[in-house]
């Protein structure tokens, strides 16, 4: 099953939630919509599910015009951020709900429903909770029951809104792995929304980075991390050093001073230089593009994080290997192993 949206626009009053979004998801993919809150990712998900409607644009599920169908005809599995489990029903009845409300002509008989629910509870490894009520479950268990319930209707696609948002850090990590292996098992085309980059990079086949109702970049987790397509993506994903620079006359200048960095193909004007913290190599004074004084050093596991004040006066944080000796007060040279410069 494929999903395709074209030129989606959606406003809530004067707020533009989606501002011309195009996206194609191939069959069997597990795609993450990643962005800060208010970036439009949940709105996009809800429109695909039929819970919201766009002001203009198109949605196709498996090539069919989805906007011609209401939510209940789309056969979309939707997992809500707060799970939306029916609290007056047992876990079993929650999962069975989608099967029980089918039109009489296609509804399974009771025995078949029982078998199917049992299968789903086995799939999410919670068959022993069948007779409990949602209020008796932990957050992680509720999440998995919500997923089983969404899968019960044999959805054509699966949509998850901040699936791990309401869980604590440890449960979150476990569920991430579990979701990835579950997807591997059932292979249903899936989109999930998250504001947590680690989650997106770890779970998804492809990551869609959104900001202010627009898609900033679509790519594999490696792509968006290693080759961010815009200043926003570079700043949002991974921890970066961000310096305002000026591109003019084929040179990159910081605080008026030219840097020994290639400026080939860059448009002249105010720009932003991005370097990953661990891509700043430390050398003796005068050895790199930057020079600065070490202000503060802390150890963070395998790396040491140093606060360095550059000669122009700006202070940055770098991550250096632990074997490199850094002392407060040292003057050091810094050479970016890799960097990106974006206009703006």
């Amino acid at each position: 099953m494929t999903i395709e949206v074209r030129n989606l626009v959606k406003s809530f009053g004067s707020f533009k939630a989606l501002d011309g979004v195009d996206l194609k998801v191939d069959s069997g993919e597990l795609v993450a919509l990643l962005g800060p809150s208010g970036s439009g990712k949940t709105t996009l998900l809800r429109i695909v599910a039929g819970l919201d409607w766009p002001d203009s644009g198109e949605v196709f599920i498996n090539g069919e015009d989805a906007l011609a169908q209401g939510a209940r005809e789309r056969h979309v599995g939707f997992v809500f951020q707060h799970y939306a489990l029916f609290r007056h029903m047992t876990v079993f009845e929650n999962v069975a709900f989608g099967l029980r409300v089918q039109p009489r002509a296609v509804r399974k008989d009771e025995a078949a429903i029982r078998i199917r629910v049992k299968e789903l509870l086995d799939l999410v490894q919670l068959d022993w909770l069948a007779d409990r009520y949602p209020s008796q479950l932990s957050g992680g268990q509720r999440q998995r029951i919500a997923l089983a319930r969404a899968l019960a209707i044999e959805p054509r696609i699966l949509l998850l809104d901040e699936p791990f948002g309401a869980l604590d850090a440890k449960v979150r990590k476990e569920l991430r792995k579990w979701l990835r292996s579950l997807h591997h098992e059932i292979h249903v085309t899936s989109i999930f929304v998250t504001h947590d980059q680690e989650e997106a990079l770890e779970v998804a086949n492809r990551v869609v980075v959104m900001d202010k109702g627009r898609i900033e970049q679509i790519g594999s987790p490696d792509d968006v991390y290693e080759s961010p397509a815009s200043a926003f993506v570079h700043g949002f994903i991974g921890e970066s050093i961000e310096l305002p620079v000026q591109v003019e006359g084929g040179a990159v200048r910081l605080d008026g001073r030219p840097l020994a960095l290639a400026a080939d193909g860059l448009a002249p004007g105010a720009s932003k230089l991005f370097v990953r913290r661990h891509d700043m190599l430390v050398g003796p004074p005068g050895s790199g593009a930057f020079e600065g004084a070490v202000r503060h050093v802390r150890n963070f596991g395998p790396v040491q994080r140093a606060e360095v004040t550059l000669s122009g006066g700006k202070t940055i944080e770098i991550d250096a290997p632990r074997d490199k000796e850094l002392r407060v007060g040292d003057t050091i040279g810094l050479e970016p192993r890799r960097y990106r410069i974006f206009a703006g």
């Binding site: 939510a71 209940r72 939306a84 409300v101 949602p134 209020s135």
Partner: protein, 278 residues
């Protein structure tokens, strides 16, 4: 809990205020009610039974309980409709109608009684057209039914309204995306979620209607065995100085009230236990 002990130490006045509370509660509520039960103990079981099984008493209890239950059921249905309209729809006058729901709480029962009687009497604004249709309301059991509906209106509405307002919109979206039709969503998801509140409202409306006196006696007609309610029979027995009879009837009604309180408490606990702890 150590927090309890700490609290008791920091804030003063627990002993004093608790003592005053229990004293005052005993003087005003507990001793008078205990007096009623003591009085009933002066009756032998046989006397007690004879009073209750007399035709007039039985009929009065039947009228009170039967009509109160019927009225509470009407309130359950109409209350649900009113709550739905007030919470889910926007229409002109909505806030006014919302405020009006409390009138039966605030209007003195005697005023409600004379007003309903004037309205439903054979020459009244509503009584006349209904009489033309062959339905006599005032001075018949139907009148009692009408008065009991009136005083029960706020109970279902005010217990269900906050629950419906707080109902998570996501559960309706979830039902829809799982393929449920609107009616399936209402009957399988929304109404069951409201069930504890609906039953609580029903019980409260019933309890109020059973004991109601002021708004009923004017419109009732008060014909023994036909349109005589149990509270009125208590008053009549008192005026005849038949205290034993009055006491026996009162004890039965009081016990039913206690059972209802107990049931409502259980319902509240049930509702609490189903709120997911997020």
């Amino acid at each position: 809990m150590s927090a309890v002990a700490a609290r008791r130490r920091t804030l003063p006045g627990f002993g004093l205020t608790m003592g005053l509370t229990l004293t005052w509660l005993s003087v005003i509520i507990l001793i008078p009610l205990a007096g009623l039960f003591l009085k009933s103990l002066e009756l032998s079981p046989e006397q007690f039974w004879n009073i209750l099984s007399s035709r007039r008493t039985l009929n009065a209890l039947r009228v009170s309980f039967g009509l109160a239950f019927a009225a509470a059921c009407v309130n359950l249905v109409m209350g649900s409709i009113i709550v739905w309209a007030l919470v889910r729809y926007r229409f002109p006058g909505r806030r006014l109608f919302d405020a009006i729901v409390d009138v039966p709480f605030a209007l003195p029962t005697a005023v409600a009684g004379v007003a309903l009687t004037a309205l439903f009497a054979e020459k009244g604004w509503l009584g006349a057209p209904l009489a033309a249709l062959g339905l006599k309301v005032a001075f018949t059991p139907v009148g009692i039914f009408v008065a009991m509906i009136f005083i029960g209106i706020p109970f279902v509405v005010r217990t269900v309204q906050p629950v419906l307002q707080d109902l998570d919109p996501e559960i309706e979206e979830a039902a829809g995306s799982l393929g449920a039709s609107r009616w399936q969503t209402i009957f399988r998801v929304i109404l069951p979620s409201l069930a504890p509140a609906l039953l609580t409202g029903l019980a409260l409306a019933f309890a109020r209607a059973v004991g109601e006196y002021g708004s009923v006696i004017f419109i009732a007609g008060n014909l023994p065995n036909v349109s005589e309610i149990a509270p009125l029979l208590i008053v009549i027995r008192l005026s005849e100085f038949r205290y034993a009879d009055a006491t026996a009837i009162a004890v039965v009604m009081l016990v039913v009230s206690f059972v209802i309180i107990f049931a409502v408490n259980r319902l509240q606990r049930w509702a609490q236990s189903r709120i997911p702890a997020r």
